[in-house]
Symmetry: D2
Subunit: 139 residues, 4 copies
């Protein structure tokens, strides 16, 4: 894992609190998994949409920090296609769509139970911005 | 609080896990607060973007369920304007922009420390869809 | 009208080709009108969504150039709420939601027939970026 | 070209007015080209962002109507990566990302001068909704 992405992940207590695991990072890509726990669901045992977005956002952060410069999210959009369910393992796969200067676009697909062939839970598109220097990143 | 929004909130373990409090709901509106805890931040003590999005998503859920029919998120977009910091209390204020048939649009502003005048942390726009019947909602 | 916004509008042949009129600009705001012509509609006499987006984008451009620095669109999102119809005059009203450094967010509401009370046709959210110097703007 | 997509295109006077040509449609896909004319640019000879969005929207419409049921745009988002320039031919390539029930997601990439390898001008993501019956589509 690239040093910036590695350091970012090691210090990311939110992803740890949500039980996420970084299962892959390479230039322009990142992959993260998360088990849908009892404390992440509603009364119908369906995962909170914000928690699904958090998973995608963490994969996006890995991917956009894979190149070296500290890079933060300027914003993102997400479409929910199917619910994530209690006990499922969700996989977020982020890949770079565009990187020009300090601005990047990354697409993230969230699948259930199988990182390659599982049902698609959500499609996420993030916009990143590399910081100009070593100032503190945005959360 | 309207019965649907109340029941939804009471069963929402994810919002509880993140320490959120519902501080207001009325027709087409919802307001939620959350303290940025040590387990929500990165190495620079800045709140994870997905956690900020979760806060906004919960306020959106209150607002779009304030009318009665069980309503779920179809998707949302969020712009991050400033970081949320460790120890700040964030306030998400959701209001209805449009509601036609079963489809709604809601804007949510997230502010720090003061629900009315605090610095704006994020702007969120959610798209909702009311369920046709009493089938289980999406997370 | 501010000089930058005025010069931009005067040179904008696309807005002219689509028959748009700038009916107001002030700091952080812009308003544009457009008649839905026969060459803008489909077989059901409904206006092309991209043409509605163009109207909103032009109002956004006025608003984000109202401060002086040459400013371009980084991107936008739009929700279509009702069709625009042949013969209607559409009004796009843009207002600044946020401006920090060189990055801005603007919301634009498109209404039919009455700029204040007409039915809402679309809701648009644009993200702007001021250019660092007098280099040529993006379209 | 599928009958619904064909009929839609034949009746679409806005795409014709903008000089667009449908250069391909197959299940879940659509491709459209457009020359950037003098009446589409600003004072720097750069194409209006709304016109680029219109091109992408037309390719999206072809793709989402390729299956048969009359389908309309619920909304879209677009990121502008590079300007489109006077005299360039722009190519919009739309492909289906997801189709569940009546709701679809389509991604469209706009390139300059070469439909496969040209510089990427914009990335667009559209959300579609099939109409329940033969009622008139939205523009």
């Amino acid at each position: 894992m690239h040093e910036t992405a590695h350091a970012m992940w090691a210090a990311d207590r939110a992803s740890a609190m949500l039980g996420m695991e970084a299962i892959g990072v390479s230039p322009g890509r990142g992959r993260v998994s998360m088990l849908v726990r009892t404390d992440m669901v509603n009364g119908h045992d369906l995962c909170h949409g914000g928690v699904i977005a958090s998973l995608a956002d963490s994969a996006f952060a890995l991917a956009c920090n894979s190149h070296g410069p500290v890079t933060v999210a300027a914003g993102f959009s997400i479409e929910f296609l199917q619910p994530g369910r209690l006990g499922q393992t969700l996989y977020a796969d982020a890949r770079e769509v565009s990187l020009r200067g300090r601005s990047g676009i990354y697409d993230v697909t969230v699948r259930a139970d199988d990182p390659e062939d599982g049902d698609v839970i959500a499609e996420f598109r993030g916009r990143s911005r590399a910081l100009p220097d070593r100032s503190a990143p945005r959360g």
